[in-house]
């Protein structure tokens, strides 16, 4: 097993364990602990992106997801300010059993499909500039310029929508 593989397995297992800790006890019982476990998972995922030569995505993962998005999560948890009574013991219903089974089934389908693809997979040689900020920026403002600009309309409509719902009525 090469050093690359060892690093991959460390990162992959860390990411999966972090994701499990978000929902499973002991961390998942407390929303804030769950959110912190999610940060751990995000950071391990960033490591996986680095191994895939997607450096820019890795940096964005840490800056935006582990940074900004998680701050929002923590804000929401703080604003909700749930008491331990409100965080009652979870009930086990057949819905939850069913959802675990369907999650396992989908995971099985994806995994078997991916292993099938991997058999035919040949690693392509990639240019040295692959995945750095300059090449990502070049793609964004050349082929995807209009789509990139249009995403500002998406963000603007999210802001306007939030204002519309949340603001006080004009008298």
């Amino acid at each position: 097993m090469s050093a690359e593989m060892i690093v991959f397995w460390i990162l992959a297992i860390g990411a999966v364990l972090g994701a499990l800790a978000v929902v499973l006890p002991p961390f998942g019982r407390n929303p804030l602990h769950g959110a912190l476990a999610l940060v751990v998972s995000f950071i391990f995922m960033a490591g996986v992106y680095v191994q895939l030569s997607a450096f820019f995505v890795a940096v964005i993962q840490v800056l935006v997801y582990a940074g900004a998005v998680m701050t929002l999560f923590v804000f929401v948890i703080m604003l909700l300010n749930l008491t331990p009574e409100e965080l009652a013991q979870p009930k086990y219903s057949w819905y939850k059993v069913l959802s675990v089974f369907s999650a396992l089934a989908i995971g099985f389908i994806v995994a078997s499909g991916l292993t099938h693809v991997l058999v035919h997979f040949h690693a392509a040689s990639i240019p040295a500039t692959f995945g750095n900020a300059a090449s990502v920026g070049g793609v964004l403002v050349k082929k995807w310029l209009f789509v990139f600009e249009f995403s500002s309309i998406l963000l603007l409509s999210a802001i306007v929508g939030a204002v519309l719902i949340a603001r006080k009525r004009r008298s």
């Binding site: 389908i109 994806v110 078997s112 499909g113 991916l114 099938h116 693809v117 082929k143 995807w144 310029l145 209009f146 789509v147 249009f150 995403s151 309309i153 998406l154 603007l156 409509s157 999210a158 306007v160 929508g161 939030a162 204002v163 519309l164 719902i165 009525r169 004009r170």
Partner: protein, 490 residues
């Protein structure tokens, strides 16, 4: 320069949103913002005029910049025009309704314009990344518009429901996109189709089938196909009625345009023939389920908005049947486009009357309120009756022609089980339910429905033996079809 001209319907509708936002800020504070609805509607109409201009003169315009990301062929422009027309109609009925509900806010119209531009991106996109961006811009605005009435608890609930379920459906589409990229190395739908043409999926082909299922689920949600319809009745009922028109009309038309384009381009039936999971069979199952469910459950409803919601579910089933029957020639050359057009017009009219009825602080759209409606408002009653009869497919109204050509296309196509499917669709009495709300307009509509359906059945079956070519949609739509030769475009 060509890019700017070709993209003009999209950027003009987005610009309308920005303009309306600016006017709203600069206007006097005590001014009611209803007039902004008309400003936005004007923007939609101008966008539509530009789309019409492109349809006439845009064929020669090419843009290497947009190649592979957007297509502005007749397919895009036809569905774009339907979308803009329905958007403008919803905006015209919105101001009065919102003022009566005391819920008129300028931002509502800003969001409407952004949503329309998102729909145009959605319809024009030939790349899954742009499809997703259009879908999200379209949906995000509608979530907020659904919950825009601050005094309505049902509206807030409907908005939340639509938001959560819509986010889930979008994630399905995104996951499908990721898998397709993983398999084919491209997000362009033509490239993906070509990849599958060269490397047809064989054997179990789990990953391509799974990706296809994810795409169908993601889009099936937007067009409210059973079993992805659970949000529809609650959201249609809870939303302000102009938003319901928006969802039942424009969003559905855009959803079907993209549904047809993605399925027919990426998963050609003949390349996916070797595997058990053929999209044709999935679409057929969805179509039969959707029309039966919509018609059956609609019967027991007592709220007009809910009845129309189930009617729109049932209609989605019929349109899916058309998608099932489409051959290699593409969606535009089939009767689906025409069907959508007749559905769109009748839906706007019927929901428009309901809007006028329900526009008071305590909106009540139960069936009882419509008793004797025809006597109190003869003109509105007549309009409602005509549009409901058209939705039901009663001659001489347009809905009859839509259904007729749709069934004819299914019979004529060489898909499996075409005869049993059409018979099933015919006995699946469409919109008896919708007619219930015509109580007071005409006395006994049911007999009339049964009678016309028998007539329709007999005519269709006779036609099947006598050759169907004598009655082709193209004769009906001659000016339209002369432009439709290259339907999907690059």
């Amino acid at each position: 320069m060509n890019d700017i001209v070709l993209l003009s319907p999209i950027w003009l509708s987005a610009l309308t949103g920005l303009l309306v936002m600016l006017i709203d800020v600069l206007a006097a504070r005590d001014q009611r913002p209803g007039y902004l609805g008309y400003v936005t509607a004007t923007g939609m109409v101008v966008s539509g005029a530009l789309a019409l201009f492109l349809w006439r003169h845009g064929a020669a315009l090419t843009s290497p910049f947009l190649k592979g990301v957007f297509s502005f062929g007749p397919y895009t422009l036809f569905f774009g025009l339907i979308v803009l027309m329905m958007a403008a109609a919803s905006l015209i009925i919105a101001p009065d309704y919102l003022r009566q509900q005391d819920a008129d806010q300028g931002e509502f119209y800003v969001l409407a314009a952004f949503s329309a531009s998102g729909m145009l991106v959605f319809v024009a996109a030939t790349d899954l990344v742009a499809v997703f961006l259009g879908l999200e811009t379209m949906s995000l605005s509608i979530y907020a518009m659904t919950a825009s009435n601050p005094r309505s608890a049902v509206g807030a609930e409907a908005g939340m429901k639509y938001f959560v379920l819509g986010g889930l459906a979008s994630s399905f589409l995104l996951l499908g996109t990721a898998f397709l990229y993983g398999i084919t190395g491209s997000t362009n739908i033509v490239d993906i189709g070509n990849y599958f043409m060269v490397n047809p999926p064989l054997g179990a082909a789990i990953l391509p089938s799974f990706a296809m299922a994810l795409v169908i689920i993601g889009l099936g949600f937007k067009i409210a196909a059973v079993p992805f319809h659970f949000w529809t009745p609650d959201v249609y009922q809870g939303a302000p009625t102009p938003v319901t028109v928006w969802m039942a009309g424009a969003v559905k038309a855009a959803g079907f345009a993209v549904f047809g384009r993605l399925l027919l381009t990426m998963f050609h039936a003949n390349t996916f023939m070797h595997i058990a999971f053929n999209y044709k069979l999935v679409v057929l199952a969805l179509a039969l389920l959707t029309m039966t469910y919509g018609n059956l459950v609609g019967i027991v409803q007592t709220d007009v908005k809910r009845i129309l919601a189930y009617s729109s579910i049932a209609h989605a089933g019929y349109i899916l049947l058309g998608v099932y029957a489409v051959g290699t020639s593409g969606l535009l050359d089939s009767s689906v486009g025409f069907y959508l057009l007749t559905y769109a017009v009748a839906t706007i009219a019927s929901f428009g009357v309901v809007t006028l009825m329900g526009g008071s602080m305590n909106e009540d759209t139960s069936l009882d309120r419509f008793a004797g409606f025809g006597r109190r408002h003869p003109l509105l009653g007549l309009l409602l009756t005509i549009s409901l009869l058209s939705l039901a497919g009663i001659p001489p109204f347009a809905g009859f022609a839509g259904k007729f050509y749709l069934f004819k296309d299914v019979l004529q196509s060489n898909v499996q089980y075409n005869l049993p499917v059409v018979i099933f669709a015919l006995v699946n009495f469409p919109q008896i339910t919708g007619l219930n709300s015509g109580v007071g307009c005409i006395k006994r509509p049911i007999c009339c429905v049964i009678f016309t359906h028998l007539m329709l059945d007999v005519t269709l079956l006779r036609l099947r033996s006598n050759g169907l070519n004598s009655l082709h949609l193209k004769h009906f739509l001659q000016p339209l079809s002369s432009n439709l030769s290259g339907n999907l475009g690059p």
